[in-house]
Symmetry: C2
Subunit: 392 residues, 2 copies
């Protein structure tokens, strides 16, 4: 088959706040090929990502993503890799291209799986689809009490693992942060997995980050996530050397395979967290899962949006039995819930699995999303090069 | 003073070809503050970069670049660094932000220099503005004869140094590439500096790249530029280990300080090449110049567009006497020539210097650029969030 059409849909909540909550808007990608339709989602700023798909060419290696995708042959996984290489080379000077292509690439796997009647994890070469322990991904409250309340709600919802992130952590003293860690542990219980995410708050300052290690140890945190900027491999490695039982985690900012590889090889993280909506899609994420598995590093998905993104993010490590924990957006905005008709519900023992259905196994009901649709238009020299497609 | 306005102008040649020639379009940035006007230029895809400045916020750390710049205080270099940090953190999930901000940051230095009546290199802390040997930056011809002709023209134009790049190199055999290197050396003469740029053609394949080393050695090339993808530090380091007198060069793809630093520390390049229009502007480039200088690595600008970009790119290493070579766009498209009223002409011994005038010392004559102006408009929910400004 050939790639007949790629449509980009920009959705948003009625109000966007400055919370670090990536589920407040969405860039949904629809790919049509050979009579089938596939879906993907970019974890990215919608408008610049759309512009990167449709913009005029600047020069030979600064082409729009669309130029490398539309009308291409799509017969098997090799074609997806070939298209990805094309985007990588022909758009090497278009920084946003990786984020744009991430959603497109997911949709290519979805189309291919539907055409073959095969789940994506199987197309990736896995013969078993292992269940994962979902952790509730939550934001820290403004106060330890709020943190406690959010964590208790997650526990009451049946989660045995929770990650708390962002909020006030790193903006006050290490002791104040410690109070939140204590509250988080109390909420999730002594037997739960507890993880902490600080969203790059320490820049490259190893000492200030390390000042949080004793409280993290005391609360029995499994990992300490994104203490530093996404490229600060030296700082990651230095923190990993400090005496502590807590492992360092990171990787959601990786927008190509090399960046994630370097966070493992140079940055010495114990957990590598990949967002398929940023790294270039499912194929690059699978490469990192393979590398992590071979290096004794645990692969974890990064997912804070819809269950379409969640299904995509489970595929690259669905076949890795020992990589047990997965991120699960526990309190997403309603947009992320409504984006898909079906959801990856937890089974009686509280675990989830990637769908066994063809492709990504997730249904999108476009007409039901009318209330979230952002009407956007881009014109160049009088010609409309992008207009929000109809919801049909 | 406060930053009163930022205007983005998208210009393009009437025809854009798939040549690797970045001077075919331009994104010019004008900043107004305290009654002064400053200019900068992004080396980036114009439309996605514009979108990254004006787009709606997605969440707390996926804000448009404009939100971190407009109405900010601008009293000294510390304010520019503060604004840069704001962009880095508040736009951490907006990949294109670094390219967008690069042109804005240049313009901030230009404004500040004009307000103080001081050149940017002086604001950066240098007390001397050293002359540089400009190398003609040329594309390889389709045939060795064309390469010879282009090189001879540069030599006749008085250049004692030339860099040939892209074209057919790496697409045929090592012997075919060698014929081009011989032609290039013949053109520039036995006493000229010869450099070779292959534009990431070898991906991460060290052996295929290394197969070019004997011919590069035979032609007395000073450096072998961008053999690999911008993030392929392991491949860079492996090639640097191979027996050859040729040093490896790279860095133009760096879109933050850490990436360029890693190409030096992990990638072991001998020359680090920074494009101020991509790395985040002049401030980050100066950090890399300092690091290179302290590490025995030679700093070189990457500039393939206008003399506004050239002036900006000279500032970060203007005070480094031992870093002698600079890239000089020798055959830019007419747009890049017309973009500025004055140009950095070579002195009687064929060298150039950053202007001693306030700011970047480059005049832009907007009304004269009418023929190149691209008329663009971005609308979101019925509201125009970007429209090409008037040329006044």
């Amino acid at each position: 088959m050939r790639i007949d059409a790629v449509d980009l849909f920009y959705f948003a909540m009625p109000e966007i706040t400055s919370e670090a909550d990536g589920s407040q808007d969405a860039l949904l990608v629809r790919v049509a090929a050979g009579g089938h339709v596939g879906w993907g989602e970019c974890e990215a700023a919608p408008l610049p990502s759309i512009a990167a798909f449709v913009c005029p060419m600047s020069h030979g290696v600064c082409k729009p993503v669309g130029a490398s995708v539309l009308a291409q042959r799509l017969e098997g996984p090799d074609d997806i890799a070939r298209i990805a290489n094309r985007v990588g080379y022909d758009s090497m000077d278009l920084l946003q291209a990786a984020h744009t292509f991430s959603g497109v690439e997911m949709a290519l796997w979805d189309v291919l799986g539907k055409q073959r009647g095969e789940p994506v994890w199987s197309l990736l070469g896995y013969d078993t689809n292992h269940a994962k322990i979902p952790y509730a991904s939550l934001l820290f409250g403004d106060t330890p009490q709020q943190t406690l309340d959010r964590g208790r709600k997650a526990r009451a919802d049946g989660f045995k693992a929770a990650k708390f992130g962002w909020g006030p952590i790193g903006r006050g003293t290490a002791d104040q942060d410690g109070d939140h860690f204590v509250a988080a542990r109390e909420a999730i219980g002594p037997d739960g997995h507890l993880m902490v995410d600080v969203g790059q708050i320490f820049g490259e300052d190893v000492d200030i980050a390390a000042a949080r290690l004793p409280a993290l140890d005391a609360s029995g945190a499994l990992w300490f996530e994104e203490p530093f900027q996404a490229h600060a491999f030296e700082a990651y490695a230095a923190l990993a050397q400090r005496p502590s039982a807590v492992q360092i985690a990171g990787g959601e900012g990786a927008h190509n395979v090399a960046m994630a590889r370097h966070l493992m090889s140079y940055g010495k993280v114990g957990f590598i967290q990949i967002d398929c909506g940023r790294i270039g899609g499912i194929g690059p994420a699978k490469m990192i899962a393979d590398l992590a598995s071979a290096s004794g590093i645990t692969y974890v998905n990064h997912t804070f949006t819809s269950h379409l993104a969640l299904s995509a993010s489970l595929q690259p490590f669905a076949g890795l039995a020992d990589h047990r924990i997965c991120e699960y957006p526990a309190q997403p905005k309603q947009l992320a819930v409504d984006l898909t008709r079906n959801h990856l519900e937890r089974n009686p023992v509280g675990e989830i699995r990637a769908p066994d259905a063809p492709g990504l196994g997730i249904d999108v009901d476009l007409p039901s999303l009318a209330g979230y649709l952002v009407d956007a238009e881009i014109k160049v020299n009088g010609q409309v090069i992008y207009r929000t497609p109809k919801l049909t």
